[in-house]
Subunit: 254 residues, 3 copies
């Protein structure tokens, strides 16, 4: 199985699929091709949320604002999974989530001169992902095209500050429903469900699911990723709470 | 074969696919993940139009504004097809269309405590659809996790009023081209093709296909679903006719 | 393998997939369903860029503003590939690219009366593509439903005028990143990389890849299709250069 993720929109992902299907007939699964453009952090976040639900697979990830520069092409083993993509940190958080740091190994992929300097997804990463799939994760150490490396870009997410009566964190992403996903761990709400918390000083009800408030009403909940989420039942939480990606939010729980 | 439909946008459907592929290696086919958000009626309409073109399959449908509430999780047998989704009526119109009322049976799915209260698509419905696929529609009566039930939410579409010289109906959906699809049966146009009808009193040509009028011109036609459609050749019918979902329209055919 | 391309958006492509899967269980690959609506030239451009990366396959293409008129339904053999779609020229540029003019043969498909006059993608082309897939490209000459024809619509792209010190061309498409893709061959930039050219008289740096200029800065590059592209690193080239599809641009290289 080989999954594909990118910020390419359409139709560029199809060229990657063609390049893969020239080399393997494995199952292809699209994860997303509409990650926010050239936003490595958002892609890293979503991959970490989604890929752990897959069985072992090769995951091709191309969110690559540095295409054409000398940033390396990486293959990463994460337990029984493999990840292929640019060395900009997009692969590390999900690799750790899939297998734990001790089971993560990175390899620089030796690539011949690609056809284009602007579409390495098609000309470098897709063929490499197909080769990784055919070789198997066990072959990384046996094939000359893969060179072990420890010198890779990492990316971590900011941590929320959690105190007894408040937690201060950041909006990491806003999903398509308008839910503002923070980095505040959902645990902080556990005693507050059914009551209220404050969000930047304003009171808001805390509920386990959206429909626990009337349509159009704000709520603070824990999303499927386990983080605190600012939401509106059948509406957009980002607009109602007036927050956007990168904004600091303080959740008061006293 | 297992089809997937939702209003999730991206990338949440990928988490459902991973959860399914942990449990079955059957073919997955995306129907749509951009149904109007939390609009059960629109999803019910489109599913009824599209799924009957498929061979027998398990159809996973997650348009679920009541996620987290005590609405049931359903598996529905419709002839040789199976449908899995929330008990909010989204499954019934297509089930009737697939197999006829007499061949429709509903079962409540017994689910363990799901990981999240906000993403039952991933934690409840996708695993259930995979299990239904592996068990086969014939196994509904044999497995303890499926409990027959007649107490399910239904959903019907409003019927148009058809008289000799006019039909009054409602705009059910607007498709991506801007075609306003009504509930008025296409039959009312059969004698009018090549001539004109009135739409809310204004005259408009009636044609069998879009390109029978010049680009930018309005027409009244019968869409692929068999209903009267208000359209513009190479343009948007909803804007030209000034209609939106839920609006009443009267087609005069005298 | 059978690929699908259309301007249908969603959920109409799913009805085509169902109609195909009633007739064949081959692999389906979506190329794109968001080609600019009813824009035959844009679809012809993108198909020519993407389909050559695929292994031999049947390619279903439905961008069909003339649906319902008497335009023919075509099956085209292009070497080991087959293309199925309307006779409006959308298939020819990619057919030539896939196999060369000498290896392109066109056949009119004899179709029974379709269910609808507005959705031949579902009722005519998808079933035909499935039959073509099952019969194989070699069977075109053996089956009565395929009639050889030379009387087909062609479509060519305008050619740029290339002189020693300037090239004048046209913006053919704008991709999702905002890159304005011209018909000016990339060769004209080969001596200019690292320096500047003029675009309609205004100076702009010429670079091999986007990140060779600062974020937000304009550049002129060669895209993955081999043509000159007007771009902005991490931004939209179409807006920065003030160009849109169909605009004439002159690239000064002296």
């Amino acid at each position: 199985m080989l999954t594909l993720s990118s910020d390419f929109g359409s139709p560029y992902p199809a060229a990657m699929k063609g390049a893969i299907l020239q080399r393997t007939d494995t199952r292809l699964v699209d994860v997303a091709h509409d990650f926010p453009r050239q936003d490595v952090r958002a892609a890293a976040f979503w991959l970490r949320e989604v890929l752990p639900y897959f069985p072992p697979a090769v995951h091709l990830v191309v969110v690559d604002p540095g295409v054409g520069t000398d940033r390396a092409a990486l293959a990463v083993r994460a337990g029984d999974h493999a990840l292929v993509g640019p060395d900009n940190g997009v692969l590390r958080p999900v690799a750790r989530e899939l297998a734990g740091e001790a089971e993560v190994e990175a390899f620089e992929i030796t690539v011949e001169d690609p056809d284009s300097a602007t579409f390495h997804g098609r000309d470098v990463f897709a063929p490499a992902a197909a080769r990784v799939h055919e070789a198997g994760v066990g072959a990384f150490h046996e094939r000359a095209e893969f060179t072990p490396t420890d010198d890779v870009v990492d990316r971590t997410f900011p941590e929320a500050t959690v105190a007894d009566d408040a937690a201060t964190g950041e909006v990491l992403v806003v999903d398509g429903f308008g839910n503002a996903v923070t980095n505040v761990p959902g645990d902080v709400l556990v005693d507050a469900f059914g009551g209220t918390v404050t969000v930047d000083g304003e009171s808001a009800p805390t509920r386990r699911y959206y429909a626990a408030v009337d349509a159009g009403e704000q709520l603070v909940t824990v999303g499927s990723h386990g983080n605190v989420e600012l939401a509106v039942n059948r509406g957009r939480g980002d607009e109602a709470f007036g927050v956007d990606v990168g904004d600091t939010v303080t959740i008061g729980t006293d």
